[in-house]
């Protein structure tokens, strides 16, 4: 039987049982919509995290004092604290793969009504490279700022939006109330800052509690002055950030830094932990794969249910068309013609459902984008990628499930089928 004739006959037969076949098509529509709006956003969610991590500075590693496991059980403090002198020592090694290094010390939090999310951090000028900060106005902190009489400050996007209002000039004075820590003492002081630069908004760093947009960045020495700490080299750091010259050298840089710190008597995973964006990506991958396994189970169930609807309908159809099968066989139809006929019927039902479902789910995702930020990352490309996987899966499942009734139809003996009442 010619392909076009078989398809035409299959289409005609589908139109014979509109109501019943509509339910099968509906099952496929729902399957594709579910696939589209579950798997698509999961892929979008991953893409959102990956792009956030990439935007956060792809080539950086952080040395965290103590034992910290991203996505792991938690944090335990070190037995020996990392100090500024350790950052200086790493810098003195002149490792060519390291392009920027800066310790970070958080010296206080700003009081602005009930909101204390803004903070003052001290670091070196390399922080600009590490954090990929872009200057909106003025300049970033430089080496010369460490001896300045005034406290020169660079304001993160949220800070200058909140504190400067309409007046967004640099070289203006800004008085802020700050809760500072001095060893174990906490006190509130008023600090007069000289604003030397304003930063552009940048994406938050995934996994970091402090948002760089909420930072007031001072030169490390000046930040320590605020807490009356003069022996800069002995100051305990919150982190040391290091940028590698490219992503592939992150592991090498990490290994070198571990060697240097161990040389200085620190124990890895006790006194310090090294975390890179690579680790963060691995965590995203790990979370994604676990979530993905769960989604796959749901998806498999959805496929099985929709394919089962084909199986049930086709079993009924074969039984109903017993005599018709006998007639076609008497007219000369081969067993393969009968097989193709019922497979085409199942496939056409599936494809109609897939087509309508795809269009509906694309529109649904567009509507959901208004409400959920991570769905904004479900681009047309991700949708197409998702469908390039789920649609062949649905079609394959349909063929597998339709094979049984179709095969049964081929086994019908024409002489018996023609006697069938």
């Amino acid at each position: 039987m010619k392909l076009e004739k078989a398809i035409k006959l299959a289409l005609r037969n589908i139109s014979r049982n509109k109501l019943r076949n509509s339910f099968v098509i509906l099952a496929f529509i729902l399957a594709v919509i579910l696939g589209g709006i579950i798997i698509g956003p999961v892929n979008g969610f991953k893409s959102y995290w990956v792009s956030s991590i990439k935007e956060a500075g792809f080539n950086a590693i952080a040395i965290i004092p103590g034992k910290a496991e991203i996505g792991g059980p938690g944090y335990s403090p070190p037995t020996k604290y990392i100090k500024v002198e350790d950052a200086l020592y790493i810098k003195s090694k002149n490792i060519k793969e390291i392009v920027a290094i800066s310790p970070i010390i958080i010296v206080g939090f700003l009081i602005f009504g009930q909101n204390t999310s803004s903070f003052i951090a001290g670091g070196w000028e390399d922080l600009k490279i590490i954090g990929e900060f872009k200057i909106y106005k003025g300049r970033f902190i430089e080496e010369q700022d460490k001896d300045s009489q005034e406290i020169n400050a660079v304001l993160g996007y949220n800070v200058w939006k909140k504190y400067l209002g309409e007046n967004i000039d640099v070289n203006q004075k800004l008085e802020v109330n700050v809760i500072i820590r001095q060893n174990i003492l906490v006190q509130t002081v008023t600090v007069k800052l000289n604003v030397i630069g304003l930063l552009e908004k940048r994406p938050p760093v995934p996994g970091l509690n402090l948002n760089p947009n909420d930072a007031i960045i001072l030169h490390l020495n000046q930040a320590l002055k605020l807490i009356n700490f003069t022996n800069v080299n002995k100051a305990i750091v919150d982190n040391i950030f290091i940028s590698a010259n490219n992503f592939n050298n992150l592991d090498f840089v990490s290994e070198e830094v571990i060697k240097i710190l161990e040389e200085r008597g620190y124990k890895k995973d006790i006194d310090f932990t090294i975390v890179s964006q690579k680790d963060a990506l691995n965590v995203v991958d790990r979370i994604y794969s676990q979530f993905n396994n769960f989604i796959n189970i749901i998806w498999a169930t959805v496929i099985i249910i929709s394919s089962l609807s084909v199986l049930i309908v086709m079993v009924i159809t074969v039984r109903e068309r017993y005599r018709e099968i006998g007639t076609l066989r008497a007219l000369g139809a081969k067993r393969t013609d009968i097989l193709m006929l019922f497979l085409f019927e199942s496939l056409i039902l599936c494809l109609i459902g897939v087509f309508i479902g795809s269009i509906v789910s694309v529109f649904t995702i567009e509507i959901l984008k208004e409400s959920f930020e991570f769905i904004r990352y479900v681009t047309l490309n991700i949708i197409l990628q998702t469908y390039s996987v789920i649609i062949p899966e649905i079609i394959l499942a349909t063929i597998i499930f339709a094979l049984y009734p179709s095969y049964r139809a081929t086994k019908i003996e024409p002489a018996i089928a023609l006697r069938y009442e």
Partner: protein, 227 residues
């Protein structure tokens, strides 16, 4: 020339623990352009015999030769092709495909053979022959019983078969329509076709060349008519 020859054909069916002898030692020759009627009471084995002649079933014992070819030697696939090229079937319940129009029902036979060059044109010609050209685009549900049977006859003729096998073709029709159908068969005979008609209505057999009486799966009597 002999088209079909049945040599000592028996067909047994197992029903539960017992064996039903549907046909027993049938010997029969059907010649070209013959109009044969097979008559007998219900359960006498008429349809089983027709299935043997039409290569829809294989005998338990004996052989069926079609133009000298032993059909037992053909695979299922070859048998399908053989039926498409050589045999036209007409059934009591017409067996048209409900979703197809009269024209498409006639055309569908050509899907299983490459015998017909222009199926649409031939199907229309055949519908014209059976007087249904005007009803070509009607579905079976829009046709009367007689019209449906005429579509089935056109369908049986589509591949220009050697032999036409009709199993109680007038069983579901009124006597006037039945007569029209029999007249149509006579027309086909005039066109050179071989016709085997199964019926339990003796009155329909008067124009046959030969009448074969079946009883309990055996040929009880055979009457040749000289026209």
């Amino acid at each position: 020339m002999v088209i079909v020859r049945l040599h000592d054909v028996s067909k047994y069916y197992r029903v539960g623990f017992s064996v039903v002898k549907a046909l027993e030692n049938i010997n029969l020759e059907i010649k070209e352009n013959e109009f044969i009627s097979i008559v007998g009471p219900s359960g006498s084995g008429k349809s089983t015999l027709l299935n043997m002649i039409g290569c829809l079933d294989k005998p338990t014992k004996g052989k069926v030769f079609f133009k000298g070819l032993d059909i037992a030697l053909l695979s299922d696939r070859e048998l399908s092709k053989f039926r498409a090229y050589n045999i036209g079937f007409i059934f009591q319940t017409f067996n048209l495909i409900p979703s197809l129009t009269a024209l498409e029902n006639v055309e569908i036979s050509s899907s299983f053979s490459n015998k017909v060059k222009n199926p649409r044109e031939r199907a229309l010609k055949l519908l014209d022959l059976v007087g249904l050209k005007e009803r070509a685009l009607h579905r079976p549900s829009q046709l009367s019983g007689g019209e449906q049977q005429r579509v089935a006859i056109a369908r049986a003729l589509m591949n220009d078969p050697e032999i036409i096998l009709a199993d109680e073709p007038t069983g579901n029709l009124d006597s006037k329509t039945a007569e029209e159908i029999i007249n149509l068969f006579l027309e086909l005979k005039k066109m050179g076709k071989t016709i085997v008609l199964v019926t339990h209505n003796i009155s329909l057999t008067e124009n046959s060349d030969r009448i074969i009486y079946l009883k309990d799966g055996r040929i009880e009597n055979e009457v040749r008519k000289s026209n």
